[in-house]
C-alpha cells in the first residue's frame, strides 16, 4: 500500500512486446545504429561481397587480439583501459630490437613478445598504481598516461636508442647515428603468423593460425573468469568496499588486471604489426587505443560490461564501416575526405555516446538506491 502511494510499484505487471522491442533497441543502440550505417553505406560504396569479406577477415585477425586485451580491466571495474597503448609501445620496442638483430619470422615474433613482457609488466604496474591513486577517474588518468608514456617512449626511441641501447643496423637507425627511423620495415616478418597455416576459400584468405591464437586467448579469458583471481576481480568491479571487507586485496587485484591487459596489448600489437608489415615508429600506437575501444563499444559493450561476443561483433561492424565510409562518402558527396572525416567522427561519437550512457545509468542507479534507502527509512519510522 505504502508503495502505491509513493509511486514505487514492484515490477509485477506484464511487459508488452512493443516495450520489449523498445527496451532491446535502447540497450543495443550503438550496434543497431552501426548496422544501419553499414546497410546504407555498403551499396553506396560499390564494393563486391568478396572484397568486403576478405577485408573483414583480415581486419578481424589483425585487431581482435588487441581488443580482447581490454576485457579484463572492464571486469575489474576499471573501465575502458585507455592505457592499453602502453602495452602497444612495449610491443613496438620489442619489434624494433628484433629487427635490429635481424631475427625474422615466427622466432622474431616470439622473441619480440618475450622482450615486451618485462616492459609491459613494468608499465602496467606503474599505470595500475597511478590509477589506484586516482580511483573514480581511471579512464582519464589512463588516457593522459598514454601521452605521458608516449613522451618517455620518444625519449628512449628517438634519443637513447643508438646511444645507450646499441642499435647497429643502418636501415633502422637514423643517419645521424642515434634514434630510430620513422618507419621500420617488417617486410621479412610480414604476415609470418598469418601465412603459417592459411587457406583460401573463394579468394578469401583465412589466416588459420592467427585465429587459433585469438581463440586461445578467448579460452584463456573464459578460464580466467573462473579462477580465484578472476572472481576477485569481478568482486572488486562490483563494489570495492565489499570486496575489501571480504578480505580481497583490492589495490593488488586492480594492478594485476592492468598488468594482464598491458601484456596482452603488447602481444596484440605485435600480431597487428606483423600483418601490416611495417612499423610507423612514432605514430603506430597513437590511435590504436581509440580504435580498439571504439570497436569494442560498437559491439555493444559498455564501460562496465563487455563480453567476447562484443569484441567480434564490434570489430566486424566497426571495420565494415571503416572500409566503406570513404567510398560511400565519395559516391554521396563527391569528396573522399568527407568519408574519411565521417569515420573518425563516428569513432569518437561512439565512445562519447557509450561514456554518456554509462554515466547516466550509474547516476540513475545511485539515485534509485538513494530513493529506496529513503523509503526504507521512512517506512521504519512509521512502523515505530
Amino acid at each position: 500500500m505504502k508503495n502505491r502511494k509513493t509511486g514505487y510499484e514492484a515490477p509485477l505487471e506484464k511487459i508488452s512486446p512493443a516495450r520489449k522491442v523498445l527496451g532491446f533497441a535502447r540497450d543495443n543502440t550503438v550496434p543497431l545504429m552501426f548496422i544501419l550505417i553499414c546497410a546504407i553505406c555498403i551499396p553506396l560504396s560499390g564494393f563486391s561481397v568478396n572484397y568486403l569479406l576478405a577485408e573483414i577477415v583480415t581486419r578481424i585477425s589483425r585487431n581482435s587480439f588487441l581488443i580482447l586485451s581490454l576485457l579484463i580491466p572492464i571486469m575489474a571495474g576499471m573501465g575502458l583501459n585507455f592505457g592499453m597503448t602502453l602495452g602497444a609501445m612495449a610491443g613496438e620496442i620489442g619489434l624494433i630490437l628484433v629487427s635490429d638483430w635481424q631475427i625474422w619470422g615466427i622466432p622474431g615474433m616470439v622473441l619480440a613478445m618475450i622482450i615486451s613482457i618485462p616492459i609491459s609488466i613494468g608499465l602496467g604496474v606503474l599505470c595500475g598504481k597511478i590509477m589506484n591513486m586516482a580511483k573514480g577517474r581511471e579512464m582519464i588518468t589512463g588516457y593522459i598516461m598514454n601521452y605521458f608514456i608516449n613522451g618517455i617512449y620518444q625519449l628512449i626511441v628517438l634519443y637513447a636508442m643508438g646511444v645507450v641501447i646499441p642499435i647497429i643496423h643502418s636501415s633502422i637507425i637514423l643517419p645521424r647515428g642515434y634514434g630510430i627511423r620513422n618507419t621500420v620495415s617488417l617486410l621479412a616478418m610480414r604476415q609470418s603468423l598469418d601465412n603459417l597455416i592459411a587457406i583460401r576459400i573463394n579468394g578469401v584468405k583465412i589466416p588459420v593460425m592467427t585465429f587459433v591464437v585469438i581463440a586461445l586467448l578467448c579460452l584463456f579469458i573464459v578460464w580466467f573468469r573462473k579462477t580465484k583471481l578472476g572472481q576477485d576481480m569481478r568482486a572488486v568491479g562490483q563494489d570495492m568496499e565489499v570486496a575489501r571487507a571480504a578480505g580481497i586485496n583490492v589495490e593488488r587485484t586492480r594492478i594485476i588486471s592492468i598488468v594482464i591487459s598491458t601484456v596482452l596489448a603488447g602481444f596484440g600489437m605485435i600480431i597487428y604489426l606483423q600483418n601490416m608489415g611495417n612499423l610507423s615508429t612514432y605514430t603506430a600506437h597513437s590511435q590504436i587505443g581509440m580504435f580498439c575501444i571504439a570497436a569494442l563499444l560498437v559491439g555493444g559493450a559498455s564501460v562496465d560490461r563487455a563480453t567476447i561476443g562484443n569484441v567480434f561483433l564490434g570489430v566486424t561492424l566497426f571495420h565494415l564501416m571503416f572500409i566503406v565510409a570513404p567510398s560511400a562518402g565519395t559516391a554521396l558527396m563527391g569528396d573522399s575526405m568527407i568519408g574519411e572525416y565521417f569515420r573518425v567522427f563516428v569513432s569518437y561519437a561512439v565512445i562519447t555516446l557509450a561514456l554518456i550512457m554509462y554515466e547516466t545509468k550509474k547516476r540513475k542507479a545511485s539515485s534509485k538506491a538513494g530513493r529506496e534507502l529513503a523509503l526504507a527509512q521512512k517506512l521504519e519510522e512509521e512502523n515505530k
Partner: protein, 358 residues
C-alpha cells in the same frame, strides 16, 4: 594556494615553507627548470631579451585559453578537456567575420561578436550534458571535444564559404587548412600600444585585453553568483543546503568557459597570424590544462594567479627549451620534454588524494 600563504601570517621562513608545500614539488621542479634555462640562455649565445619577448608573446597568445579553464574548475566540472568546443565557436566567429567582409583590426571585434552566439549555444548544450553526467565530466568532455572537432572537419568542407582568401583556390569550395590573417585581424590586439626596444618587444594590447578579462573574471568570482559557483565546486552539499541551484550555476560556468575558449582562440590567432582549421583544435586542450595546473591549480581550485604563473611557466619552457637545449647538447629534445612535463603535471593533479574524495 594564495589563501594558505595569506592566512599563515608567520615569519618569512614559515611563509616560504607553507608556500613551497602548497606549491607542490612538480611545480617547483618546473619553475626551477625554467629559471635554469633563463640563466643558461646567455651562456649558449641566446639573447636574454629575445627569449623574454618570445615568452611574453606566447604568453599573450595563450593566456585567455588558459583563463577559460577557471569557471569550470570553480563550479566543480573539473578540467575543461572540452575546450575544443569553445575553440570551434571561435573559429566559426573568425571565419564568418572574414566571409562577411570585415577587414583590419576591427574584424577581431566582429569575430568576437559573431563567435558569442555560437559559444553560448554550444556551452548550453555542453553544460546541459555535463549536468547529466556529474562525476564523469573530464573523460566525456575530452570525447565531446574530439567528436565536435571531427564533425566540424566535415562542416568546414561543406559549409557555404566563398571568400577567395579562405577556400581552396582550385575547387572554390571547402575551407583551407590554414588561413592567413594578413589584412584581417593579424596583430589586432598585439599591435595596439606595442613596445619595441632593441630585442625587447611587448604586445601591450594583448596583455591589456587579457588583464581586462582576468580582472572581469576576478570581479565575477567575488559577486554573489561567483561565490555561489565556488561553493558549488568546493562543497556541493553545502551549496544545495544554501539553496543554490547547482545545475544552473554549473551551466553558467560551462557557458563562460566555452565563451572564453572562443575568445581565447581568436586572441591566439591574432598573435599567431593564422586560422588553423580541421584537426588543429584537437590537441589544444592539453596544453591549456597543463598550463593552469603548472600554475598551481588543482582539479577543483584555480585562481587568476594560477593562470598567469602557469601560462608563463608553460610558455617559457616551450620557447626556451628548443634554443637552449639545441645549443647545449645539439639535440632537439624540447618536444619530448614538453610532452613529459605537461602530461606528468596532469597526472600529478589527477592523483591528488585530497581532491578525489570530493
Amino acid at each position: 594556494m594564495s589563501e594558505l600563504v595569506r592566512s599563515s601570517g608567520n615569519p618569512l621562513m614559515d611563509k616560504i615553507r607553507v608556500f613551497a608545500k602548497s606549491f607542490g614539488l612538480p611545480r617547483l621542479i618546473i619553475a626551477g627548470f625554467l629559471l635554469l634555462l633563463f640563466i643558461m640562455a646567455p651562456f649558449v649565445g641566446a639573447n636574454f631579451f629575445t627569449q623574454l619577448s618570445n615568452t611574453i608573446n606566447r604568453f599573450s597568445w595563450n593566456a585567455v585559453l588558459v583563463l577559460s579553464m577557471v569557471p569550470m574548475i570553480h563550479s566543480g566540472c573539473g578540467l575543461n578537456f572540452g575546450l575544443p568546443l569553445g575553440i570551434i565557436a571561435g573559429l566559426l566567429g573568425g571565419t564568418i567575420a572574414i566571409e562577411l567582409g570585415a577587414v583590419g583590426a576591427g574584424s577581431f571585434w566582429v569575430a568576437v561578436l559573431l563567435a558569442t552566439p555560437f559559444a553560448v549555444i554550444f556551452g548550453m548544450v555542453y553544460g546541459f550534458l555535463l549536468n547529466k553526467i556529474k562525476g564523469g565530466e573530464m573523460m566525456i568532455a575530452t570525447y565531446v571535444g574530439f567528436s565536435a572537432v571531427s564533425l566540424m572537419c566535415i562542416m568546414w568542407l561543406l559549409l557555404p564559404y566563398h571568400s577567395p582568401n579562405m577556400v581552396w583556390g582550385y575547387a572554390g569550395t571547402g575551407l583551407r587548412t590554414t588561413i592567413s590573417l594578413e589584412g584581417y585581424y593579424l596583430k589586432a590586439l598585439a599591435g595596439f600600444l606595442a613596445i619595441n626596444i632593441g630585442h625587447l618587444s611587448i604586445p601591450v594590447g594583448s596583455l591589456l585585453f587579457f588583464a581586462l578579462l582576468a580582472f572581469a573574471m576576478w570581479a565575477f568570482l567575488h559577486t554573489k553568483t561567483g561565490t555561489a559557483m565556488t561553493a558549488v565546486g568546493s562543497n556541493p552539499e553545502f551549496a544545495k543546503a544554501a539553496g543554490i541551484n547547482i545545475d544552473k550555476v554549473r551551466l553558467l560556468s560551462v557557458i563562460m568557459s566555452t565563451w572564453l575558449g572562443a575568445v581565447g582562440i581568436l586572441v591566439y590567432e591574432q598573435g599567431f597570424g593564422f586560422i588553423q582549421l580541421y584537426m588543429a583544435p584537437f590537441n589544444m586542450a592539453l596544453p591549456a590544462v597543463s598550463a593552469i595546473l603548472i600554475g598551481g591549480a588543482s582539479v577543483n581550485k584555480a585562481s587568476i594567479m594560477n593562470v598567469i604563473i602557469g601560462t608563463f611557466l608553460f610558455q617559457g619552457i616551450v620557447t626556451m627549451t628548443p634554443t637552449v637545449m639545441n645549443s647545449m647538447i645539439h639535440m632537439d629534445m624540447s618536444e619530448v620534454i614538453r610532452v613529459i612535463a605537461s602530461n606528468g603535471m596532469i597526472i600529478y593533479a589527477l592523483t591528488r588524494k585530497s581532491e578525489v574524495s570530493r
